[in-house]
Amino acid sequence: MKLLYFAWVRERVGKAEEELAPPADVKTVADLMRWLGGRGEEYAHAFEQAKSIRAAIDKRHVRPDTVITGAREIAFFPPMTGG
């Protein structure tokens, strides 16, 4: 699946997007954040405050307990500050 990062999540991870195939036991958005957090120092730093990171699956807001099965694109970002 395609992962996208925005704002300080992007800066900490060090890239805007990447293709990754998480293992089968990564079932929810929260699982995915934990798994990403274990991928190295940059990821650990990016996902250490998982509670303040929001997610979208295929361009729609989702909650941490949302199942990621079938997702083409998952984005992680801080709370929005537009307007």
Binding site: M80, G82, G83
Partner: protein, 161 residues
Amino acid sequence: MMQTTVRLQSEDFDAAAEQAALTRGRTDIGAAVTFTGICRGAESGEPIAALTLEHYPGMAEAEIERHVEEAKSRWPLMGVTVIHRYGRIEPGQNIMMVATASSHREAAFAAAEFLMDYLKTKAPFWKQVESKSGNTWVEAKGADDAAAARWDKPPGSEAAE
């Protein structure tokens, strides 16, 4: 007739011209409300050089359009325009605008506020402040979440409180 315009762009816009376009040639519209968000020259007392807005292309448009549809289902609107800029914006320049048109002011005011509250908390944009002390991401405000949450109640229930 309902006229809807949603635009994301890096260049500035003319809010007065956009509102004029919304009402031109119409005699059914009795109220037009325009809110324009403008880049301030200081944040918490510190002068800033610019704001840079990052957005999630595709989702930003979709999210704004969903909320415009929601506003249209709640109020008898005759026109809605939402324009949001991205990229570097200097103090004094426009950041975004919402314009709503209806036959009477109540719907136009309420829909404009609804759209602003939702755009602040749900549209995928992030502001970064550029100042002498470096670049910092703007933190989301709890007050904005509270402002958006008041619309979660069914329309009409506000008056009962």
